[in-house]
Amino acid sequence: MINSQLTWLRKNLFNTWYNSLLTVVCLVFIFWALHNVITWTTTQAQWAVIQVNLRLFLVGRFPQTLYWRAWIVLAIASVLFSITSGVVFNKQNFNKLGFAIFAFIYSGLLIFLPLDFTSRIWLLFIGALTLTSFWLSQKFYKTITPWLSPLWLLSFPLIIWLIGGGLGLQTVPTNLWNGLLLTVLMAVVSIILSFPLGVLLALGRTSNLPILRWFSILYIEIVRGLPLIGILFLAQVMLPLFLPTDWRLDRVIRGIAGLVLFSAAYMAENVRGGLQAIPRGQIEAAKALGLKTPLVILLIVLPQALRAVIPAIVGQFIGLFKDTSLLSLLGLVELTGISRSILAQPQFIGRYAEVYLFVGLIYWLFCYSMSLVSQQLERQFN
């Protein structure tokens, strides 16, 4: 046993003299870094700023009496995600390690987050629901698969209704949608809306009608040449100038418009990659069967192209999720925006490191788990 560990050490850390040197340097570095980090987190950092403001980070000033609606939204989203992942990964056996990691992180959240009793009950309930639906969808994936897209389509207006209210529910104005809630919502809405626009632009760019092609190229290249902050500024400040005087667009909607205009150009390039990957024979075969061009595109080309670029789209979604932070510069109170207002609280002035590390951790958890999903998808498709 010890012998095998020694061989491992020799093989992986001390196989040549310079590797031994590197190992020693790395060990010193790791010791120094860990020592500093642990001293700082345990003795110098004041985590009260996180404890006191946890709600603000997650949902901001969303009315407390309506939290149940936010919880239901979380439940719907988790169930949909777990059903989808159950269907996508149906061929693998239930991954014990994945389950253990999930349970570990989840119970850690349940125990260590400074939550009240109702929140813990909700979290426990949602966790159980997520696991059950994952298990069920893996088992019955053949029955569920055709229902997946309609379920997603239906859930979208339902979620917006639950958050925004109206139609019998008490309305919540968009300036109260804050924190992580707003970050996730804007990222999801923007990627969904930019999808059809991006597909159209990609088709336009690969079309053999010169005017359409030049329009698309012009749009894509101009947007990709500009910094996102400029485009968000354009949407926030210039969009109202381009619209009739009596149209008043909400700040959140203007933010989403900016993200959609930006994301569509990048989406178009991703989809174009997928379109180029379709063998010409597919198109020729479809035409030989007598299909008209629009039908060839709709039934033969697009489904294959989109399937090929799903990992790229996940990658783009990760980027967009991070990019929503820029909206804080234009006065929106999403995750980064709310951390600014928390840092302005007189008792927590100067607690930048704690707040930014915590916010960074939230972003990281989301982005890293999405990148794991995208890697898995890529493996699935190859």
Binding site: N15, I30, G225, I229
Partner: protein, 308 residues
């Protein structure tokens, strides 16, 4: 009597041309509507279109002025200062991020377990958090928490760190510039590391083995055989990372470094000339992007295998 030609509505080319005319027509209508809205709105706000404001006095101070500038100078001068500041960050950023990225990319493939995993952790942390947050962290949590200037931290005797930024015996960098530069370098470096790793892995294993069997040491194999071939795969995505870095330097506004976007934004706030300022910005960034693309494409041509 039979007609050779089918009726015009059955002709494929007819529809192709019509569709394009319809598209142009719709686009023209859209542009006209938007433009008339814009001019009506601007008229209501009392703003006239034109670039005459560029000759007016800027009357705001700029923290960092690589060329002589004072508040009584014109907006044109202020925008030049901003442009040069942007170029400083972009050029230094592209240079250093290349070093960081290539180092991290190669160490990701090291046969030393510790080195490999430290590099992996670096990439996963920096790639999966927003750049804006990293910039805020560098500026507020790192540079502003350094001791005051008369109490500076000294590293190896010749680099000193304080709230005034980084100082070398012959050079000094403001905290805004340093935070922006470090943020851009480490964020973009994490993406370049993945590109470099992918590029190296795309070189067939046989190339390694052949070079080794000729008696080359591993370092030389990398430098003379593998890396030049990997460059062909690396350069196109590397170009887009350089473009991203240049565009992302506009986030300087979050930490108060006076780059072109910062100056343009102040100009807009003072004059209300949204359209003109936006056009200037577009022109600047498109020129920058185009320059980088052209230079990288030239480089790309030199590393490709010449084929007949």
């Amino acid at each position: 009597m039979t007609n050779d030609k089918p009726p015009i509505w059955r002709d494929y080319r007819f529809w192709q041309i019509t569709a394009q005319f319809v598209a142009v027509f719709l686009a023209a209508i859209l542009v006209i509507i938007l433009w008339s809205n814009l001019s009506r709105n601007l008229q209501q706000l009392g703003i006239k279109f034109g670039f005459d404001f560029l000759k007016q006095q800027a009357s705001f101070d700029i923290g960092e002025t690589p060329i002589a500038y004072k508040a009584t100078d014109t907006y044109t001068r202020a925008l030049w200062v901003g442009l040069i500041n942007s170029l400083r960050v972009a050029i230094a950023g592209i240079f250093f991020t290349t070093i960081v990225g290539i180092t991290a990319g190669i160490t990701r493939l090291s046969d030393n377990w510790l080195v490999r995993n430290i590099s992996l952790i670096y990439v996963e942390i920096f790639r999966n958090t927003p750049l804006l947050l990293q910039l805020l962290f560098w500026y507020f949590a790192v540079f502003l928490s350094f001791p005051k200037a008369d109490n500076k931290i000294s590293l190896w005797g010749f680099i000193s760190l304080s709230q005034n930024g980084i100082e070398l015996p012959w050079l000094s960098f403001s905290p805004e510039f340093s935070a922006l530069l470090l943020g851009l370098i480490f964020y973009t470096g994490a993406f370049i590391a993945e590109i470099v790793r992918g590029g190296i892995q795309s070189v067939p294993k046989g190339q390694w083995e052949a070079a080794r069997s000729l008696g080359f040491k591993p370092g030389l194999v990398m430098r003379l055989v593998v890396f030049p071939q990997a460059l062909r795969v690396i350069i196109p995505p590397l170009t887009s990372q350089y473009l991203n870095l240049t565009k992302n330097s506009s986030l300087a506004i979050a930490i108060g470094y006076p780059d072109i976007y910062f100056v343009a934004s102040t100009t807009f706030n003072q004059t209300g000339r949204a359209v003109e300022v936006m056009l200037l910005l577009m022109l600047t960034y498109l020129t920058l992007s185009l320059t980088i693309s052209i230079m990288m494409n030239l480089l790309n041509r030199t590393v490709q295998i010449p084929e007949r």
